[in-house]
C-alpha cells in the first residue's frame, strides 16, 4: 500500500459529499399546488389546483359549492328535487317528460344494470331506505325478515322504466331511484368542467375520498395516497395522469351498529342485505361515473366474482381489500400501485369461459 496515493474511495467519498451539498442547496419549499376544502354534495370536497398561488380560490369555492349543491338536490332520492319528483311520477305509472338533469343518469344506469345482471340496481331505492341509508346520518332499525321478503319478492329493475326519447313511464309500483352509487362520479366530472371554465387546467376534484384528475402538476404525475381501509395510515400510493378517476366503495364509509352487528351502506340486491366478503373495492378508470358504479358493483360481487364483473364493465384496473387485510388486484392495476406497508397481495384476472352468476 503506497501511503501517498489518494485512494479511489476517498474520491468517491468526495463526490458523495459534494452531491449532498447540492441536494441541500436544492431544497425548495414553495408550495406548487393550492388546496381548498369545503362541505358540499353531502360530503367533504377537497380541490387541488396547479400551479399554486395564481387562482382565485374564493371564487372557485363559491362557484363549485353552488353547483355541487344544485346537483346534490336534484339527485337526492328522498328530497324535493328533480329526482324526488321523478320518483313520484314513476310510481304513478303515467308517461312524463324526464328532467334533463336526471335523464343521463337513468340512461347510464339502465346500461350498467344489464351489464351487471342487476348487481348494480339504482331502482332499489326502497330497499336502501328500508336499511336507513336514505338519511344523511344513517340509522336503524334494519328491516326484519318479513319486510325483506316483501321487498325482494318482485324487486323493481331499471328495465321497468320505459324510455321513449325524453318521455318516461314507470312500470313497477315499488320503483324508487337512488343514485348514491354513481351520482358522485357525474358530480366530480362536472366539477372539473366547471373548473376548466374558471381557467383551471390542472386540478384534482376529491369528493369524500373519490376523485378525478385533469391536467398535470407540471411535468410530474399527480400523487395520490390511498388510505388504509383497515386502520390508520396510508395503504398505498398511486400516480395518476390526466383524466383518471379513482373511486372506492367500502364498508367503512357509511353505516351504523345494530345489536353488535355492523350495518353498512352497500346493499346486495340478491340477499337484500349489506354485502359480505370485501372491505373495499377500488376502481381506476377514465370515466368517473363508471368507476363509481363499478366500485359499488365489485363490492357487491364479493371475493369470488369481482374479477368477472370488472371484466364485464370494461374495468381493467381494480383492487379489492379483504377482511384479513390482504389485497387482490387485476394484472393491469399492479404497475399503478405502490404499497406503503407490508401487505399480502394476489393477482386476479377474470377466468375466460366463466360466465355463470352466483345464485
Amino acid at each position: 500500500m503506497t501511503p501517498s496515493q489518494p485512494h479511489p474511495w476517498l474520491r468517491a467519498a468526495t463526490v458523495a459529499l459534494l452531491l449532498s451539498l447540492i441536494a441541500l442547496a436544492g431544497c425548495d419549499r414553495k408550495p406548487e399546488t393550492d388546496r381548498l376544502t369545503f362541505q358540499a354534495f353531502g360530503t367533504l370536497v377537497d380541490i387541488t389546483v396547479y400551479p399554486g398561488g395564481v387562482h382565485d380560490l374564493t371564487r372557485i369555492e363559491s362557484e363549485l359549492s353552488e353547483e355541487l349543491e344544485i346537483m346534490h338536490t336534484s339527485w337526492h332520492a328522498w328530497e324535493p328535487g328533480s329526482l324526488g319528483r321523478t320518483n313520484q311520477l314513476l310510481a304513478l305509472g303515467g308517461e312524463f317528460s324526464a328532467p334533463p338533469s336526471v335523464l343521463p343518469l337513468i340512461e347510464y344506469a339502465q346500461e350498467l344494470e344489464s351489464l351487471t345482471d342487476g348487481l348494480f340496481n339504482p331502482a332499489l331505492g326502497r330497499l336502501i331506505a328500508a336499511w336507513g341509508f336514505h338519511l344523511d346520518e344513517a340509522a336503524g332499525p334494519p328491516p326484519d325478515a318479513e319486510q325483506l321478503e316483501a321487498l325482494l319478492a318482485d324487486p323493481p329493475r331499471m328495465s321497468d322504466i320505459e324510455r321513449r326519447g325524453v318521455r318516461l313511464r314507470g312500470n313497477h309500483p315499488d320503483l324508487q331511484l337512488d343514485f348514491g352509487g354513481m351520482g358522485k362520479g357525474f358530480a366530480v366530472a362536472r366539477s372539473l368542467d366547471l373548473l376548466a371554465d374558471l381557467g383551471v387546467e390542472h386540478a384534482i376534484v376529491n369528493a369524500g375520498g373519490d376523485l378525478m384528475t385533469r391536467g398535470r402538476p407540471g411535468d410530474r404525475a399527480w400523487r395520490i395516497g390511498v388510505r388504509d381501509p383497515l386502520g390508520q395510515g396510508v395503504l398505498a400510493s398511486i400516480e395518476l395522469g390526466s383524466d383518471e378517476a379513482l373511486f372506492t366503495s367500502g364498508d367503512y364509509e357509511r353505516g351504523y351498529e345494530w345489536e353488535g352487528e355492523r350495518i353498512h351502506h352497500v346493499i346486495d340486491p340478491r340477499s337484500g342485505r349489506p354485502s359480505r366478503g370485501l372491505v373495499a373495492a377500488t376502481v381506476l378508470h377514465d370515466d368517473p361515473a363508471l368507476a363509481d358504479a363499478a366500485a359499488t358493483t365489485l363490492m357487491i360481487a364479493g371475493p369470488d366474482d369481482w374479477p368477472l364483473y370488472a371484466q364485464r364493465l370494461g374495468v381493467e384496473k381494480a383492487l379489492v381489500v379483504l377482511p384479513d387485510g390482504s389485497v387482490e388486484l387485476t394484472p393491469e392495476m399492479v404497475p399503478r400501485v405502490e404499497f406503503r406497508r407490508e401487505v399480502i397481495r394476489r393477482i386476479r384476472a377474470a377466468e375466460p369461459g366463466v360466465g355463470a352468476i352466483a345464485p
Binding site: P3, L17, S20, L21, L24
Partner: protein
C-alpha cells in the same frame, strides 16, 4: 518514549496553552453560521494524542475547556457544558481509534470521526437537557455536515503539523518505528 514526569507536565502545559489560545482567538472571530466553528483547538488535541497518548490528550482537553472558559467568562454556562461534552465525546471515539494510527489511519482518519462525535455529543446534550424541542433533529443533518467539513480541515492541518520533523520525532507508534 519519554518517562520524565516533569518534562511530560511541561509538554502538557505548553500544548494546553496553545489550545486555549486557539480557542480564545476563534471565539473572537464571528462565525458566519451560529453554532458552527472550525474547532482549531482540536488540532492540538490530536497532536497531543498522537505524540503523548490519550491520558495526556485528556489532560490537555480538560485544561483547554476550563482555561478557555475562564478567559471567556463562560465557566459552567451552557456553552461550557456543550464544549466539555463535545471534547469528551471526541476523545472517547479517539481512544480506540488511536491503535490504528499511523499504520491504518492517518491524522485525517482520526479527525473526521472525532469531529462527528464532537457534534453528536453536543447535539445529544442540547436535545436531551438544554432545549428538548421536537423540531431540533432537523438541525442535526447540517450540523453533521459542518462536523464532517471541519473534521477534514483539522485532519489536514494535523497531518501537516505531524509531518514537521520536529514533531515527527515524538510520534508514538507501538508496533513499528517511524514510516516517514
Amino acid at each position: 518514549m519519554n518517562t520524565d514526569p516533569v518534562l511530560a507536565d511541561r509538554r502538557i502545559a505548553a500544548l494546553a496553552a496553545l489550545a486555549i489560545g486557539l480557542q480564545v482567538i476563534e471565539a473572537a472571530i464571528p462565525s458566519p453560521v451560529p453554532g458552527i466553528k472550525p474547532g482549531l483547538a482540536n488540532v492540538i488535541t490530536l497532536v497531543t494524542l498522537v505524540t503523548l497518548g490519550w491520558r495526556a490528550a485528556l489532560a490537555v482537553t480538560l485544561l483547554r475547556v476550563v482555561g478557555a472558559s475562564l478567559l471567556l467568562g463562560t465557566l459552567l454556562s451552557p456553552g461550557f457544558w456543550l464544549s466539555l461534552t463535545g471534547a469528551l465525546a471526541a476523545l472517547a471515539v479517539l481512544a480506540p481509534l488511536l491503535r490504528l494510527h499511523p499504520r491504518h489511519l492517518s491524522a485525517l482518519g482520526l479527525a473526521v470521526p472525532a469531529a462527528i462525535a464532537h457534534t453528536l455529543g453536543q447535539f445529544l446534550l442540547a436535545w436531551a437537557v438544554i432545549i428538548p424541542h421536537p423540531q431540533l433533529p432537523l438541525l442535526l443533518p447540517p450540523l453533521l455536515l459542518a462536523g464532517l467539513i471541519t473534521g477534514v480541515v483539522t485532519g489536514i492541518l494535523t497531518a501537516s503539523v505531524l509531518a514537521d520533523p520536529r514533531i515527527q520525532r515524538h510520534v508514538r507508534d507501538p508496533s513499528t518505528t517511524q514510516s516517514g
